[in-house]
């Protein structure tokens, strides 16, 4: 049975309005687009103010004076718009970047470098035949892909060794193709959720 809830009708309208873009850019799509941007911006603003209250202001009010520092760093960011004292914003950015790098580097070195290199440099023979084939492919494509990025030695690309970066290039193209295929699959899977909503929740054609 078709939905009687007004919120479902609104959601159905915006779903169809957003989808209409695949046929042609139109005013209904633009309305949906601007509404989404407006709602998202409004939501982000409210959440931002809430966060300042929850994680900063409440502590400051409770007598934790140390919380004045993030407030000062935050205010410094707005000096970006001041014609004379704009350089002050760099302190805020420096603090944010430094903190972010410090936090992620700690874990990154272990998982992104050491573990990845160790896994790539593992034994070629695995427990199964398919596993062995996989490790051999990883070994070959890692080495050949790396050779593609050797720009300081010209002979690698034009000499008798030029087949090495060529294999690497094909390997990378395969990876890009897989990534593209996954992207298409993701977009469809996101839209199929809306189809389910339209046919089940809105029109009631599909059984719950």
């Amino acid at each position: 049975m078709i939905a009687t809830d007004i919120s479902i009708w609104i959601a159905a309208f915006f779903t169809i309005a957003a989808t209409s873009y695949v046929f042609k850019d139109n005013i209904i799509f633009k309305f949906a687009e601007y509404t989404f941007i407006g709602v998202a911006a409004g939501h982000a603003l409210v959440m931002g103010v809430e966060n300042v209250k929850k994680y900063g202001w409440s502590h400051l009010k409770g007598g934790e004076i140390i919380y004045i520092i993030p407030f000062i760093v935050g205010v410094l960011l707005y000096f970006r718009y001041h014609p004379t004292y704009y350089w002050l914003y760099r302190y805020g950015i420096a603090f944010l970047v430094g903190q972010g790098i410090g936090l992620s580097m700690r874990g990154m070195v272990h998982t992104d470098f050491i573990k990845q290199i160790a896994a790539t440099a593992g034994p070629l023979v695995a427990e199964t035949a398919l596993g062995t084939l996989n490790t051999i492919i990883i070994f070959i494509l890692t080495i050949t892909s790396l050779t593609h990025f050797i720009f300081t030695v010209k002979q690698v690309h034009i000499g008798t060794m030029s087949w090495l970066p060529k294999i690497g290039r094909y390997g990378m193209l395969l990876a890009f193709g897989a990534a593209f295929g996954n992207t298409v699959m993701t977009r469809f899977s996101q839209y199929q959720g809306r189809m389910l909503f339209l046919l089940r929740d809105w029109l009631g054609i599909v059984a719950p």
Binding site: M108, T111, L196
Partner: protein, 276 residues
């Protein structure tokens, strides 16, 4: 018409066929069941081997855009957790996650179906800003990072939080996200620093760049988009939206495959014409 013209199908035709291919299996399901992949099985096992009372930290790292894909996965994972009497600490590292939470819980129905109680068996901390800063803070000192839950109630007053203070008290960190920085963040903060059992799930398009974390053992389990969600639903024996849409995925992917073949035919036909 030359073969090179097949690559120039009008956009409206391509998309209309997509919409039709999505609608048909929803109205008349084909009933093709997903094959369980090793990564989904590992995600499932990581939670299934926990004992009643063990703690799962679950992060909703996605918003409305990711809900059609990751919503069904969240529902399946939380159903699994509640069916095993686990304590679930839910948080959101994505701003819209706080809006998504009620949509998920509306389907999970922890009180009605599993007899779970808010504050005793599960808690929602709301959105915690800062991504990796938030993760590090929650794992370091949960009560300082999130002194109140999403309703504004002090978490010190919630019975289950009395024994959950930091990473030492958390058994599994599970997350679903549409953001690469969140997916990597949990690996850096939960696995790399605390060696916690960490399970990640994300959109299929993120899999090629994030799968190495699963391959190297940094992630114990991995859910690959809607396919992973459908597999998880099958594993817990509760078919949901993901399994309903498996047929759609099969049909639309078949259509994409046809388009790729047509595109290649057009490309080589056009090149052949140029050469001749």
């Amino acid at each position: 018409m030359g073969l090179e013209k097949v690559g120039a199908l009008p956009r409206w035709l391509v998309m209309t066929i997509v919409v039709v291919l999505m609608a048909i299996p929803l109205i008349k399901p084909l009933g093709i069941l997903p094959v369980i992949s090793e990564s989904t099985m590992d995600y499932y096992n990581a939670i299934d081997q926990l004992k009643p009372g063990d703690v799962v930290l679950f992060d909703i790292g996605f918003g409305s855009g990711g809900y059609p894909t990751l919503g069904p996965a969240s529902i399946a994972i939380l159903r699994h957790c509640f069916s095993k009497d686990l304590k679930v600490v839910i948080m959101a590292t994505q701003q819209e996650g706080a809006v998504i939470y009620p949509l998920i819980m509306d389907k999970v129905k922890p009180e009605e179906v599993y007899g779970a109680k808010y504050g005793e068996d599960y808690v929602f901390l709301g959105y915690i800003a800062g991504v990796q800063t938030a993760m590090a803070a929650v794992l370091g000192d949960l009560h300082s990072a999130a002194p109140v839950d999403y309703t504004g109630k002090s978490i010190d007053t919630l019975p289950m939080m009395a024994n959950i203070k930091n990473a030492d008290d958390i058994d599994v960190v599970a997350y679903l996200t549409t953001a690469g920085e969140i997916a990597e963040g949990w690996v850096y903060q939960a696995y790399s620093r605390y060696k916690k059992t960490t399970c990640g799930g994300w959109l299929s398009m993120m899999t090629p760049s994030l799968k190495p974390y699963y391959d190297t053992g940094a992630l114990t389990g991995m859910l690959d988009g809607i396919r992973g969600a459908a597999e998880y639903e099958k594993l817990i024996g509760e078919p949901g939206d993901a399994m309903k849409t498996t047929d759609i995925l099969n049909l639309t992917q078949l259509w994409v495959l046809i388009l790729v073949i047509l595109g290649n035919i057009a490309f080589f036909a056009a090149r052949g014409k140029e050469v001749s």
